[in-house]
Symmetry: C2
Subunit: 323 residues, 2 copies
């Protein structure tokens, strides 16, 4: 079992690599090699199997061909220019999210060996311009360039799978909260900041009204689902290779309530509130209420307790206290 994670330097990619190192197997076979590729070569990882690291710009077709020539059994495609960045820089988003995804699938098409490809799409493929809740059969009507590019990747993945060029599974990730580290250019970044920063003793800014809902999942459950999706028999997905991962619907206010319960009311004073129209417009356009019957029937996991998500973060990802 030879596995490639494109976007292996990102937060979810690193978590997934760590989980694969714990498991040691995937799809019933011992992992013989794990390759991590990202725009900058990812850091090393402790694992019971060899781990290689590759600098890869997926917009560079020849570079993609060279990496895919490794004949991987399972390829995770988690690389993306994130939402607010793709909105601010149209060309950058199209380059990585549109052409990069096409390049990857095309490189696989040229191989004798058909890889399992797990593609990270996003709840941003959906919008609030259609009747809610979103079901497994609702149109993707994205209202951001990021969501558009992700939805296009879904269509490509499905057709390349139907033709047998890849054995693809596209999964629309909820907003993943709590992310460790620093804020990034995702419009959703603050959903993590308002939990992470106060826990670490730092101030945070909430740019939306506290009754704003979000569709989220924890890093732990997201990674577990990425593993499970790779383990599925492709036949189980039929002619529709894309699906929404389970998540939970929660308001910012309920997130902050849970933070107060877990860490004490005093940390809430570190959260300032100042509306940011740009962020607010993007986030309001995302659906927060989804029915994910297909994913549940396929045995995928769901978060149910935001307090547990906060405690998980404190145990596994929180920056150690100084001094």
């Amino acid at each position: 079992m030879r596995i490639l994670i494109i976007g292996g330097g990102g937060f979810v990619g690193r978590k997934l690599a760590g989980r694969l190192a714990e498991l040691g197997t995937l799809r019933g076979a011992e992992i013989a090699e794990l390759a991590l590729a990202d725009i900058a070569a990812p850091d090393a990882l402790d694992a019971p199997f060899p781990v290689t690291s590759h600098a890869l710009d997926i917009a560079d077709r020849e570079a993609v061909d060279a990496v895919i020539a490794g004949d991987w059994d399972v390829i995770y495609h988690l690389a993306a220019v994130v939402s607010a960045q793709a909105e601010a820089d149209f060309v950058a988003g199209m380059r990585t999210n549109f052409f990069g995804t096409f390049n990857l699938f095309e490189a696989c098409r040229g191989r004798v060996h058909t890889p399992v490809v797990v593609y990270a799409s996003s709840v941003a493929s959906f919008s609030t311009d259609v009747p809610q809740p979103i079901t497994d059969w609702t149109a993707t009507t994205p209202q951001t360039s990021y969501g558009t590019q992700k939805a296009i990747g879904e269509l490509l993945l499905n057709d390349y799978s139907r033709r047998g060029f890849i054995d693809g599974r596209g999964v629309r990730l909820p907003t993943v909260v709590v992310r460790p580290g620093k804020p990034n250019a995702a419009a959703s970044s603050f959903f993590s900041s308002i939990i992470r920063e106060p826990l670490q003793g730092d101030p945070a800014m909430c740019p939306v009204a506290t009754d704003q809902e979000v569709w989220l999942s924890s890093p732990r459950v997201t990674v577990e689902n990425l593993v499970k999706v790779a383990e599925l028999d492709g036949e189980a997905l039929g002619g529709i290779r894309n699906l929404s991962l389970p998540g939970m619907t929660i308001t910012v206010a309920a997130m902050l309530d849970a933070l107060g319960e877990v860490a004490g009311e005093n940390v809430l004073g570190l959260v300032d509130h100042e509306r940011d129209e740009t962020i607010e417009k993007i986030v309001q356009g995302w659906s927060s209420r989804l029915e994910t019957d297909r994913a549940m029937e396929l045995g995928l996991d769901r978060d149910e307790d935001f307090g547990r998500i906060i405690r998980d973060f404190m145990e596994t990802d929180m920056r150690p206290a100084e001094g």
Copy 2:
């Protein structure tokens, strides 16, 4: 009012050009020029305004840029590698339908003048793998490469419109019946052949069971809707620039019954029946039952009488009897 029809050499394109010549105006302005572009330069056309003809391969980015440099007020994008051909030749379909459509929208993005772009998508974007009937909010889950490429064009059109690069309107055309001329490489071609050939005294082959349903519209109504869609205020479409055009659901058996009524039972003897698995599989994957509330609310037209469609064909498009 300067109008460009890409795919202007095709059947629908020529019909549309003829209708514009009759109307003389579009969007309240007198037509000053009509340009017809296609893979081979289209034939001339009688019109009360200048008509130019251009050979254009939309997969050739520089050629597209050169044509779009004309600063058109309205651009119709009707060019495509059709369904059975795109299924038989994946690369050809991707080249024209995927890159060609991208090239066109990209060329518009570079212009100061924002054109109205009417994009012909297809009912093939939908499939029978989801609950029927198809509504305005149903997911596009195409089960052909043609449908995939068309659905990707819809997503691009919407995002390019949202960003103000174009003023786009994507319309999913029903299968257009009765087409004049010869059969083409569309999997739907036989739906016209089984009417057209017997009327012209020629034999025809029906490759599917007679209880097969199809979602169709006449050339007349299709062209009228292409005109109406260009006339709409883009704001009326909101954040979702793509919609299904109205059509009628009819079985092959009912089509043949109508043929017998209009032209006499004896012509039905010219229709042979021999199932073709390839065609059958493609056609069975298309939805035949759609609800098109948005299109109806926007004032678009619908066929209701297949007998009238046959009579229209006999009056306007049928090959003159020999001798």
